[in-house]
């Protein structure tokens, strides 16, 4: 949008301003409580509520789009949507390709979960979702990493005994551990919190959302939302 200001054709300029107000938000839709598809088939979760509130504050019309986790960054860069809001942790590696807003969660613990106590998470076989900070962490430890395209499949792999343990966001695993025979083994702190990701050339739009996140932190609405969706850590 910064580039729009530089456009010379006045007509094109005025037309584009009217249109630039619809922002397409890309999410995965498979990562409760952050984002998931509810029974009605719509995007739901903490980030749905947060994103809608942010759009209201930034006075933008937003449209939700779901996309595979694997191709979520390439599709942002090629312009299929304008922002990623998909439980994406802020890391240096990702900062090389996309630009993040400030975090809207604190660096939250990731946790190992397994079927029994005493599993060697540093030397065994550990599942993680592909292209996540957890996968990167497992690869750094001595464990054998098995990657899956969706978070759900990582949990299924532990339950079926295909792997010894799973490493994932603790907020994602908590409701699963509560309802199944899985147990937590230990926490690790990874990443710098979760933020929205934008194209690096899209500074103006990123600024709007950044300001909206800051205002939600200030008036405490963000904390209420984190509470509601039982996500650890408050601002």
């Amino acid at each position: 949008m910064k580039s729009l200001l530089l456009g010379s054709a006045a007509l094109a300029l005025s037309a584009s301003f009217a249109m630039a107000d619809t922002i397409r938000l890309g999410t995965e839709g498979a990562y409760p409580p952050y984002n998931f598809i509810n029974d009605a088939g719509e995007v739901d979760g903490f980030e749905r509520e947060l994103g809608d509130e942010l759009c209201k504050r930034a006075e933008l019309t937003c449209e939700w789009v779901t996309n595979d986790w694997d191709s979520i960054i390439p599709n942002l860069l090629s312009g299929n949507y304008d922002a990623i809001i998909a439980g994406m942790s802020i890391t240096d590696e990702r900062k090389e390709v996309v630009a993040f807003t400030q975090g809207y969660t604190l660096p939250s613990p990731s946790a190992y979960a397994a079927m029994a106590e005493g599993v060697d998470v540093e030397g065994g076989v550990v599942a993680a979702q592909a292209a996540t900070i957890q996968a990167a962490h497992v690869a750094e430890t001595g464990a054998t990493l098995v990657e899956f395209p969706t978070p759900d499949e990582t949990v299924a792999a532990v339950k079926s005994g295909e792997v010894d343990a799973v490493l994932s966001d603790k907020d994602f695993l908590a409701p699963i551990v509560e309802e199944s025979e899985l147990i937590f083994l230990g926490d690790v702190y990874l990443g710098g919190g979760i933020g929205m990701a934008f194209r690096q050339s899209d500074d103006e739009l990123r600024g709007k959302f950044d300001a909206a996140i800051a205002s939600m932190k200030e008036d405490g609405t963000l904390n209420d939302m984190l509470d509601k969706w039982e996500i650890e850590g408050k601002f």
């Binding site: 949008m1 580039s3 729009l4 530089l6 456009g7 010379s8 054709a9 094109a12 584009s16 249109m19 630039a20 107000d21 619809t22 922002i23 397409r24 839709g29 498979a30 409760p32 409580p33 998931f36 598809i37 509810n38 029974d39 009605a40 088939g41 719509e42 739901d44 749905r48 509520e49 994103g51 809608d52 759009c55 209201k56 006075e59 933008l60 019309t61 789009v65 779901t66 996309n67 191709s71 599709n75 860069l77 090629s78 312009g79 299929n80 969706t150 759900d152 499949e153 949990v155 299924a156 339950k159 079926s160 409701p175 699963i176 509560e178 309802e179 194209r199 690096q200 050339s201 899209d202």
Partner: protein, 312 residues
Amino acid sequence: MSCPPPTQRKRPAIFSYCSDPASLEGFQWLSCYLTTGKHMAFYVSFGTVLLLLAITAPLALAFGFFGASAARSRVLPLSLFGKGYIAIVRGVPDIAFFLFFVIALDQGIEWLRHKVKCPGWDEPIRQGNDFLVCQIAKMPLNDSPQWVHEVYGFSLAVLTFAIVFGAFAANVLFGAMRAVPRAQMETAEAYGMTPRQSFWRVLVPQMWVYALPGLSNLWMVLIKATPLLFLLGVEDIVYWARELGGSKTARFTDYPHGDWRMWYFLALLLFYLAFTKLSEIVLERITRRLSHGQATVAGEAQRKGQAKGAAA
């Protein structure tokens, strides 16, 4: 200007007793579970797949027909174009072609629109990793409703499928055109038909019977290739089966269940089996009809069978 409020746990009121699923059991629970909005989307996606097949098959056949006609043309550039199309597309793995072509096509269209609609643009289109065109050159426009985006994605998928399967069809038709007995063409020429006339009146009507085994094979492969839609970002039956089958905890759904992916994929398997079986039956009938009166073994057998029937 604001976003629609998030709608949570909204159920379609198909059955009145579905308001409290936790208290239901057995058949009633299942009837509610299978009629959630999410399941409706799953059922609709079967329609998406069938629609894809219905549009792609004739389009691919058309591509194949033009490819084959071009390949056997006497005009050298046209013939090279036809042969090149067949060779290149047949030689590249489907997945590579699907991933490359859709992105290239999408960006190509946006680039062309950008050139036409924003001539005053002075920034590079590629900035680092980003692909940037002006807002009004976006395809579809950013503020178009979601269904426009979906239709556009679907059309790209159809076109890609048609190009890939068109190349195979072209190869089949090319062979079929050459399989029509030379004597038939010579006879046509002897009657004074121009090359164009003999092509349309003699060659084309007769080639189908030779093309059919190859084309029916292609149709089967096309049916089986539809899950590639998922790769192209279209929410097809594979996407929904995986999404619905994954285990669900009670906090985020009214219908918690374990890992049911096996059952959903079993349903897909049955769907594909039933559909290919149906196709086989239909193709069998078409073969019988096309063989009628043809100078082939099958056509000859039909003729003799009829003669025998008449004699008895």
